[in-house]
Every structure is written in C-alpha cells, then in structure tokens.
Symmetry: C2
Subunit: 346 residues, 2 copies
Amino acid sequence: MKDRATLQDVARLAGVSLGSASRSLSVPREVRPDTLERVQRAVAQLGYVRNGAAQALASRRTKTIAAIYPTLDNPIFAVSIQSLQQTLWGLGYQVLVASHDYEPAREVDLLRAIVERGVDGIVLVGTDHADAVYDLQRQYGLPYVLSWAVDETRPGQCVGFSYLDAAQRMAGLVVERGHMRIALCPGIADGNERVRARIEGTRAALKAHGLVLREDWIVERPFTFEGGRSAVAQLFGTTDRPTALICGTDIQAVGAIGECRDRGIRVPDELSITGSDDIELANLVEPRLTTVHVPTSEIGRLSAERIVSLIEGRALGETRPLQTTLTMRESLKDLNRVELNSQRPN
Amino acid sequence: MKDRATLQDVARLAGVSLGSASRSLSVPREVRPDTLERVQRAVAQLGYVRNGAAQALASRRTKTIAAIYPTLDNPIFAVSIQSLQQTLWGLGYQVLVASHDYEPAREVDLLRAIVERGVDGIVLVGTDHADAVYDLQRQYGLPYVLSWAVDETRPGQCVGFSYLDAAQRMAGLVVERGHMRIALCPGIADGNERVRARIEGTRAALKAHGLVLREDWIVERPFTFEGGRSAVAQLFGTTDRPTALICGTDIQAVGAIGECRDRGIRVPDELSITGSDDIELANLVEPRLTTVHVPTSEIGRLSAERIVSLIEGRALGETRPLQTTLTMRESLKDLNRVELNSQRPN
DNA sequence: TTGAAAGCGCTAACAA
DNA sequence: TTGTTAGCGCTTTCAA
C-alpha cells in the first residue's frame, strides 16, 4: 500500500490544526465556514481518504455491521441481504457478510472472528443459536437483531413474522381444499426454531380439523431442491401415499415438483405441493406454486434500521410481527370441486 | 461496548512484557514454551479478544477483502460468493460484500467507502469498470482480482472463462441442430464486457455457418426472470419469429420459458431456448434447459486464493481460462431429426 | 471556534 | 528470547 495522505497532512496544507481538520470532516457545522473550506480544498488536493482503522481505534466505532446467515444460496436470504446492505449503506454502515451453512459450531467461530475484527452490531437469523453466541454478545455488549424471528422475550430486537401462524394458515388452507392425507417437508428441526414452529403450526391446524399429522409424514430434509426431491422419493416409496405435500420453502417445493415430473407423478392431480416464501420462481414453475408470501426485502430493510437505532441509542419501540399472505396458485388441488378438467389436453 | 481486556492486561497478568504477549499470539514459535503458556492462560482467564482496529492500525493489514458484485440475486454469484468466503475464511481473511446492481456509479461509491474503511484487497466481477475504479486501486496500491473474467493484458489477475468461446460454442450447437432463425437475449451490453463477448461469439458462430445475427433479434434485457419474459414478448409480438432463443443466463432462460408457457408457445417445439451457467434450476424446469456449465464455485475459490497470494506477495503464475461445457437437455430442439413425438400426450 | 495534547490497543524495530 | 519504546492516524477532551 502506498503512503496515503494523513489528516495531519491535510491540516498542514490547510494551515489549521489537526483538531480542526478532524472536526471539519466529522462535525462540519462546528467549524467556521472559511476553515471548513480550506480543509475541504486540502482534502481534494491531496486526494485524502480517512484511515478507517485509526478512526475505529480512536472513536471506538467501526461503522460496520456483521450479518450472519445460514446460506446465501436461497433467494430469500440473497434478496434480504441486498436490502439490508443497501439500507445500511444509506445510513453510513458497511456489512460484513458470512454464512454458516446451518452449522451451529461454525456460527460461533464466525462470530468470534467478527468480534475480533470489530463491528458495531450484529444481525443474525432466527432465535436458535448456540449459547456461546449469546455469551459473546453479552460479553462485548454488542447490540444485535434477530431477523426472520419473532420472540416476545426480546422486544425490540426481532424483525420477522410468525412461522407458526403462517404454517397454521397454510395447513388450514390445504385441509379446506379437501385434503386429509397431508405430509410435511419442513426443513431440519434441530437448531432451527422456524422449522419447529412450522411443524407445530401444521399439527395444530390439522388437529383443529380433527386430523392428525402422521409422524412418518414429517420428512425432515435440507432447504435445497434436492431436499424436496428426496422427500417425494421417500413418500412415494410405498403405496401409502399423501395427497398433499406442504414444503417449508419454495426451493424444496420446486425440487419436489421436479421429482414428481421425473417420476411421472402428476402435480397437482396426484400430489398437491405447496411452498413458502413466494420467491419469484414460484410463479414460473409448472404448475405455479401455492405458497406463503413473506416480506423478504422488508425484513432486510427493517433489520438494518433497527440495528442502527440500537447502536446509536435511538429508541424505536417494540417490533411487531410482519404480515404474511397466502398466495393461491395451481399446485394445490381443490378436492371439493367436481373434476371437469383434471386431464388437460397436452 | 464494555471495556474489553487489552493485551496490556494480558501481559500484566502473565507477568511478561507487552511485546512477548503480542508475539505469543502472532508468532508463537518465537517465544519460549513456558512464556507462551502463561500468556495463553492469561488470555483464557480474561477472555481476551484482539482489537482488530488497533491491529490494523499498527500492522497496516486488515485481513479483510472486499468483494463487489453486480447482484447477489443470481445463484451463480451467491454460490460463488459462498465459496469465496469460505476459502478466504480458511486463509484467515474476512469478506466485505457489496453489490451495485449493475450501476457503474454505485460501484465507484462502494469502492471509495471500502477503501476508506480499509481492506487488503479487492475482488471485482468482470473487466468493465469505471476509470475511477482503477484509479482508486492504483492510488492506494490495492491488489485486486477480476473474477468472471479473462484478460491477456492482466495476467495473474483474472479468474474466469471465455464468454466469447462459450457463446460461440453454444451458438454453434444451436446451428448444428438445424436452427437458422436465432435470436439472442444476451443481457445489457453497456458496461458489461461479458455481454458484448456473448454477442460477438454468437455472431461469429452464425457467420461461420453462413448465417447472420439479425440486429433486431439481439434483445438486450436485464439478467432477471422478467428480462427473459420480456424478450419473448418482444420477439413474439410479430409473426416474423425465431425458432431459437439463446439467453445470456439461465435466469433469463427460465423467465423466457415461463412467458412461453403463459402465451401457449410450446418449448422447444415452437421455440427452442438455451441458457448459460447451468444453475441447479436448469435441471428442474420443464423442459429442462440446454445450457453452458460454468465453474461457479471454482471461480470463487480461485479468486480467493489469488487475491491472498497477491496480497501476501506470493507469486502464483499467470491464470489460465477455466473450462466450460455444453450441457444438452430438452429445451433445444433438433430440427434435423424426423419428428416422431413432437406432440407428447398430456 | 480553535489548538494542543493525550490517548485508543497494537505491532515491530531495536536493544539488551 | 525478551523487554522497551516509538509510532500507526485519528478522535476528543481541555484550555485558550
């Protein structure tokens, strides 16, 4: 790295003190206009750029937020990160992104390295983290936001919607459409409270209609296309088959549709499939996916605003759960209706 | 932030000097075993964590790499970032991720902010950047790697494959399959040399077969599902229609397939569609996508290794272009073959 | 409003 | 191998 101009150089060139130069940059309204102007001229002339490390060391602020996600390889997180990043950028913060691939131990390691590097705050996904994660936060007094989560015990620190409610409504819809044999591909429950909420919500909705969610029809699979494929493979390995498969994410649902296509299982005639998230793809696959629309970008934006207000000590009140909506498309069959067109030509 | 223990505290508790404590952490082999052990005990006892800002200021290294992408909302970049990040993590570096949404001006702003914060190196995408980008790099002597790019004038700084070659081979394949009316949806050429290479490669391949790439069949659209949809809408607005559409990315191709479905255009019977990248989805849509397989993760990993070797002054030799392969699936129709089954049941 | 000066916590050169 | 010490470049009192 070449020798960059320092603020000292700027001050010297402008003929002011180091202090005035510093103030010109950080609190320009507290210097006389002509002082400010001379400093600005010197800055321009030298092509001066602040040294972030020095600034961080002296001010004890890094203007950086760490965001730790399970994976970037799911559009909901990619889109959410994008809006998080752009919002933070507008507020003068940068983002250190990391992903742990659903490995709790990796998340702890990441967080440790990030704390060492120095960040002003952290955005995590969900509430289910290793104790060490919360310990680190407490130990360093680091503000944090749990995105994609609601938790009454942490008012003001969660930004998300109720997975329980969403799952309950989706399962309710499937039952209303006449399905009684319903399987669930919710993700992997261990270390993921959102998956557990999906299972609970689905179970509750079925129970409310006098149905039981069969344990052997809760098929825990990763949040990947392959996960959805594999769920279908498992469920159709016997003749004791469901008529509907509720997937935890659209990604799984699309994988499931692909597997059905490969196996010659007609969707939704032989198997209805629903997803969750309403990614753009949900509206492009054949058949188009009945799913839960979730406020992906909004979660990114609100998480950004909240972590900054936490850092800067501005109160923002408690968070309230965001809303989700069911999006009805063709992948869910209505068994109550007389079948006129179940065999469409071509 | 609570008061964290400093290295001074550690040294005091261990009964050694500040220097020995520092060395115990950074070059443990240069201290006596018992010194090392006392320091480690003190570190554990105090829960000491390095202050990154101080370390960066004193050592003039941040152990952070900035990676600026066009968007995170395309699986190829998401996957590539993931492998970049994990490789860098293994090498002791962290990643500052940013995206500019194909806005050259935004890229300059991002880079400026990133330089200010301090990073040891930069990973960019492609070769086509505002002059200001290269100026900043030169001014601060920042090592950089151009990923998803090949450029003979920058040996050792590019990691990617030849878009020209890939486009040429794909177009060659389409022609070989008997298509003579070929349209191209390459992305948006302005500020993107990869798009221009695609156009050139396609043009050259057609020319080699005595065909001409019609200017009005080069449909520049964004790299989104919607971009692909809109290309189909435009091309099918008249009766003068192509029999094949070569898309610049699988995302566009999937969008194009969706638009065809909505318009009742049969793929590939009425329109063949090809993509590029071979994202997982390419193998899941109906019909499955003929595309170019590109080494997505490898680009991330190699970019990581290269930027670190550049930073640490290790020579790694010149880069050579990575390989791509055509992946044949059903979305490209072979017009040379007798049509036996063009109207499949259901 | 300004300048002077004391650190922020660490690294690295140097001397012992 | 260890201890001492001079910065790294900036922010932020404090006094003027």
